[in-house]
Symmetry: C2
Subunit: 489 residues, 2 copies
């Protein structure tokens, strides 16, 4: 008897089925699924000899390159748990994540000051990779954890989301059926591999059999070149990326049948602009905790410029009122989600895990309403969260960094709308009057990843707080909008 939750290894099965088909290219180098599988088996063999075993957490500083993609698949062959880390985080942020994840090995270059010693660079791991691939891939257990992915949330302390093989598999097949993806598709990949939106494209590729063109970073010129050389049919973008593509007057190729626009809610006028340019844009909505897509527009449905489309079957979406009741369509409340892509909980945070579930539903923290046709409209992403070019930023985290400065007694961060980035953070500081913008900026450079650094610094004599000391953000925004705070020079 076979065990229900087992499945043949995805890449091995794919390489038998589509050995000679394009799996991955970066424009210079190209691997078929057969070649990818061979490299992955060799890497898995090497890592096995190094001591990597099933269940161990292995952190990967996830640059978008082919070597890293093969390493990620090799960890699946071994049954190890991938911990993808943004390689451009500050040393402090990197260490915070590594301390929480406690990986057995770090693949990538560690920050200079770090308590971790067991690390190896992808280049060394790949060096002279000619050995016999002795390691035979094991079946996949859908209930095993594939990935521990960090998401900032609003409270500042990063939370590690536990994502299972089942989550990944169901997300991939549901997305394929929703978007009509087949092995004939070619997916342009410009999203970071350390986010669920980018990582999941890798697994969809082996499960659906479609190829990937992987670019190391978002670069309109490089994209134009790619489009002239490959019949790209799908691309995932955050609104900031599409904004730049439209600004740079690119020729979008005729082969492109879907632009999946997610990561942050774009403005309706921007979506209209893109559609006026006859781009096949569909809005999509998802979280790390749902292993990517929850809902995506269907092109043929000519959905509105603001809806996030219909749920990815069989995911269910409902709206929870403040009184704890599931609402009728049209009523606004918290978006809650049920289905096989909902994650397994937060690593080492049972309290947070318990809080995010309500009677079997995942609480997204996002506000929206269901439409009569079953589609969902997301009105507001998670309370207080700042989304800058698709990256989630916690205001609390930035505030903490600044209140640690000897000349700063209080700090409040606000999201300001920005045409290109969607939102950017500004900070209002209660400071010694001598503090300069230059000093604040140096402090930010020293302690914050670049994406989290405020774009402007303001001075205030005091910040509006509740009796219990909680920052009144709506009030803070109003005062800021009234011009009562002056900008540091």
């Amino acid at each position: 008897m076979t065990v229900m939750s087992q499945m043949p290894n995805w890449l091995s099965a794919r390489s038998k089925l589509s050995a000679d088909r394009l799996a991955l290219t970066n424009g210079q180098q190209t691997w078929s699924f057969g070649q990818l599988d061979r490299y992955v088996s060799q890497l898995a063999t090497r890592m096995f000899h190094m001591g990597v075993r099933a269940g161990q957490r292995i952190a990967v500083l996830a640059e978008s390159n082919m070597k890293i993609v093969a390493i990620i698949h090799a960890l699946i062959q071994l049954g190890a748990v991938l911990v993808p880390v943004n390689p451009r985080l500050s040393s402090e942020d990197t260490n915070t994540i590594l301390l929480d994840a406690d990986p057995w090995l770090v693949i990538g270059t560690l920050p200079r000051e770090t308590p971790f010693s067991r690390s190896i660079t992808p280049e060394v791991l790949w060096h002279d990779l000619e050995q016999e691939p002795l390691y035979r891939s094991q079946p996949i257990n859908l209930s095993d954890i594939q990935c521990l992915m960090y998401t900032s949330g609003t409270t500042g302390r990063p939370k590690g989301a536990l994502i299972s093989y089942g989550n990944i598999y169901y997300s991939a097949v549901s997305s394929a059926i929703h978007n009509g993806t087949t092995s004939s598709d070619l997916w342009l990949h410009v999203m970071p591999l350390f986010h669920i939106g980018g990582l999941s494209i890798l697994f969809r590729s082996v499960i659906t059999g479609n190829g990937i063109v992987l670019l190391p970073r978002f670069d309109p010129e490089h994209i134009q070149d790619t489009w002239s050389r490959y019949p790209v049919s799908l691309v995932s973008l955050v609104p900031t990326m599409l904004f730049r593509l439209l600004k740079s007057s690119l020729n979008f190729p005729a082969s492109l049948r879907l632009i999946l626009l997610g990561g942050a809610p774009p403005s309706a006028s921007f979506v209209r602009q893109a559609r006026a340019a006859r781009l096949p844009v569909v809005l999509t909505y998802g979280l790390t905790e749902t292993s990517s897509q929850i809902a995506t527009q269907l092109l043929q449905d000519k959905e509105s410029d603001t809806s996030a489309g219909h749920p990815i079957y069989p995911t269910e979406i409902a709206i929870l009122s403040e009184n704890g009741i599931i609402c009728e369509p049209g009523k606004t409340g918290e978006i809650v989600v049920k289905g096989p892509t909902v994650f397994k909980g937060y690593w080492k945070q049972p309290q947070k895990t318990q809080e995010i579930f309500w009677e079997g539903w995942l609480r997204t923290g996002d506000v929206g309403h269901l439409n009569d046709n079953g589609s969902i409209t997301v009105i507001d992403r998670q309370k207080d969260l700042i989304i800058r070019g698709g990256e989630n930023i916690s205001p609390v985290e930035i505030e903490r960094v600044f209140t640690a400065h000897p000349l700063i007694s209080d700090a409040g961060v606000l999201p300001i709308n920005d045409e290109e980035w969607g939102q950017v953070p500004v900070i209002i500081l209660v400071t010694d009057p001598q503090l300069t913008r230059q000093q604040c900026s140096e402090w930010a450079n020293a302690h914050l990843s670049s994406i989290k650094r405020p774009v402007a610094y303001y001075h205030a004599d005091s910040l509006p707080r509740t009796a219990s000391g909680k920052l009144r953000r709506t009030e803070l925004l109003k005062i800021w909008q009234s011009g009562a705070y002056y900008e540091l020079l």
Copy 2:
């Protein structure tokens, strides 16, 4: 925390997502997914009041009509186990299956002589179905049994294959990705609902969101009419059906993008003929025990006229030699299968269940070889099995019926090639010389379902048997081919 193996109810999720889209039509009546879901909830409520509960086996004499389809979905809402029964079986065959399955309720008209009393016709179940649908559909547990489906095998005693919700789900999504099925497809359904090939089309429809045109039986004229009225894009046929369609000079519609040809291996010349007529024919291969498709040709691969195509990802196929070794491509042996669509075992037959598995692989009993491109060629279906127009017939079962006749001392059944049906059974009898063809035919009519009745009766003085009494079928065929047996008149 959600439980891994749970999933929102398929039809409920689909009806939220595609409430107004066509779910099912028979050409006269049409239901959207919303309407289907409403009827199904009403039926589930009624059956719940009758005492139907999760886990109970409910036999359904499965005529191909819309009422039966709704009843099948209602059993899923209730978590009851569907036992689909061919409504055209002889009383004896029906009772044999019912005695083995021991259902709590039979939906359909029972044979006159039957030990079963708890039955209800679909018409009564549907009568005045206006009640409030109080029964709320439960989540689906993928490890639960959805269906107990009888398959004849070669030994005569019918075996009940236990098929789980997971089997069905994985089969549906794997098939959708392999064939590129989307919610825009429309599937012409002319296959029996009591076979896995026909039943699985219902579940694919709710999981993928494609509509179904359901015809009560195979009828070329009705099909021509359907094709003129609906943009049918997919159809599953057994070779006998396609043979008849080609003979009746139908106009195949331009909307038709795939003809899935399965159930029995067609001759290469027949496939060539169909392809010469520019029909989008793909060969497909599957078993009840694999919840339908194991492999299917890909149209774009221009696969050979004899290969059964590539495995349905992530199903794995291998060839097992007589020495119990997995063979290289090109070597012929028994086809073995691994993957999430492999069934859970035989009902009440642990020995048979154990025998059909070898080191985690399902033994199909079919003979074939893998090709260099990863596709599979099926050389011979299960030893001794006769496949007549896609229906599996056991020679042993027919022989048993005839040796029970007072004037017959021995009997041997042979499969004879037939242009239209693929194979038909003939029988060689050791009889009293006075026995006539008429008497044999009456005996068959009284004791065998029509599909199992021999097309010709031959007389022999004795049959070739081994020392232990086993019929030497190859020898029997040789003698028959030499013309040594004479036909009864």
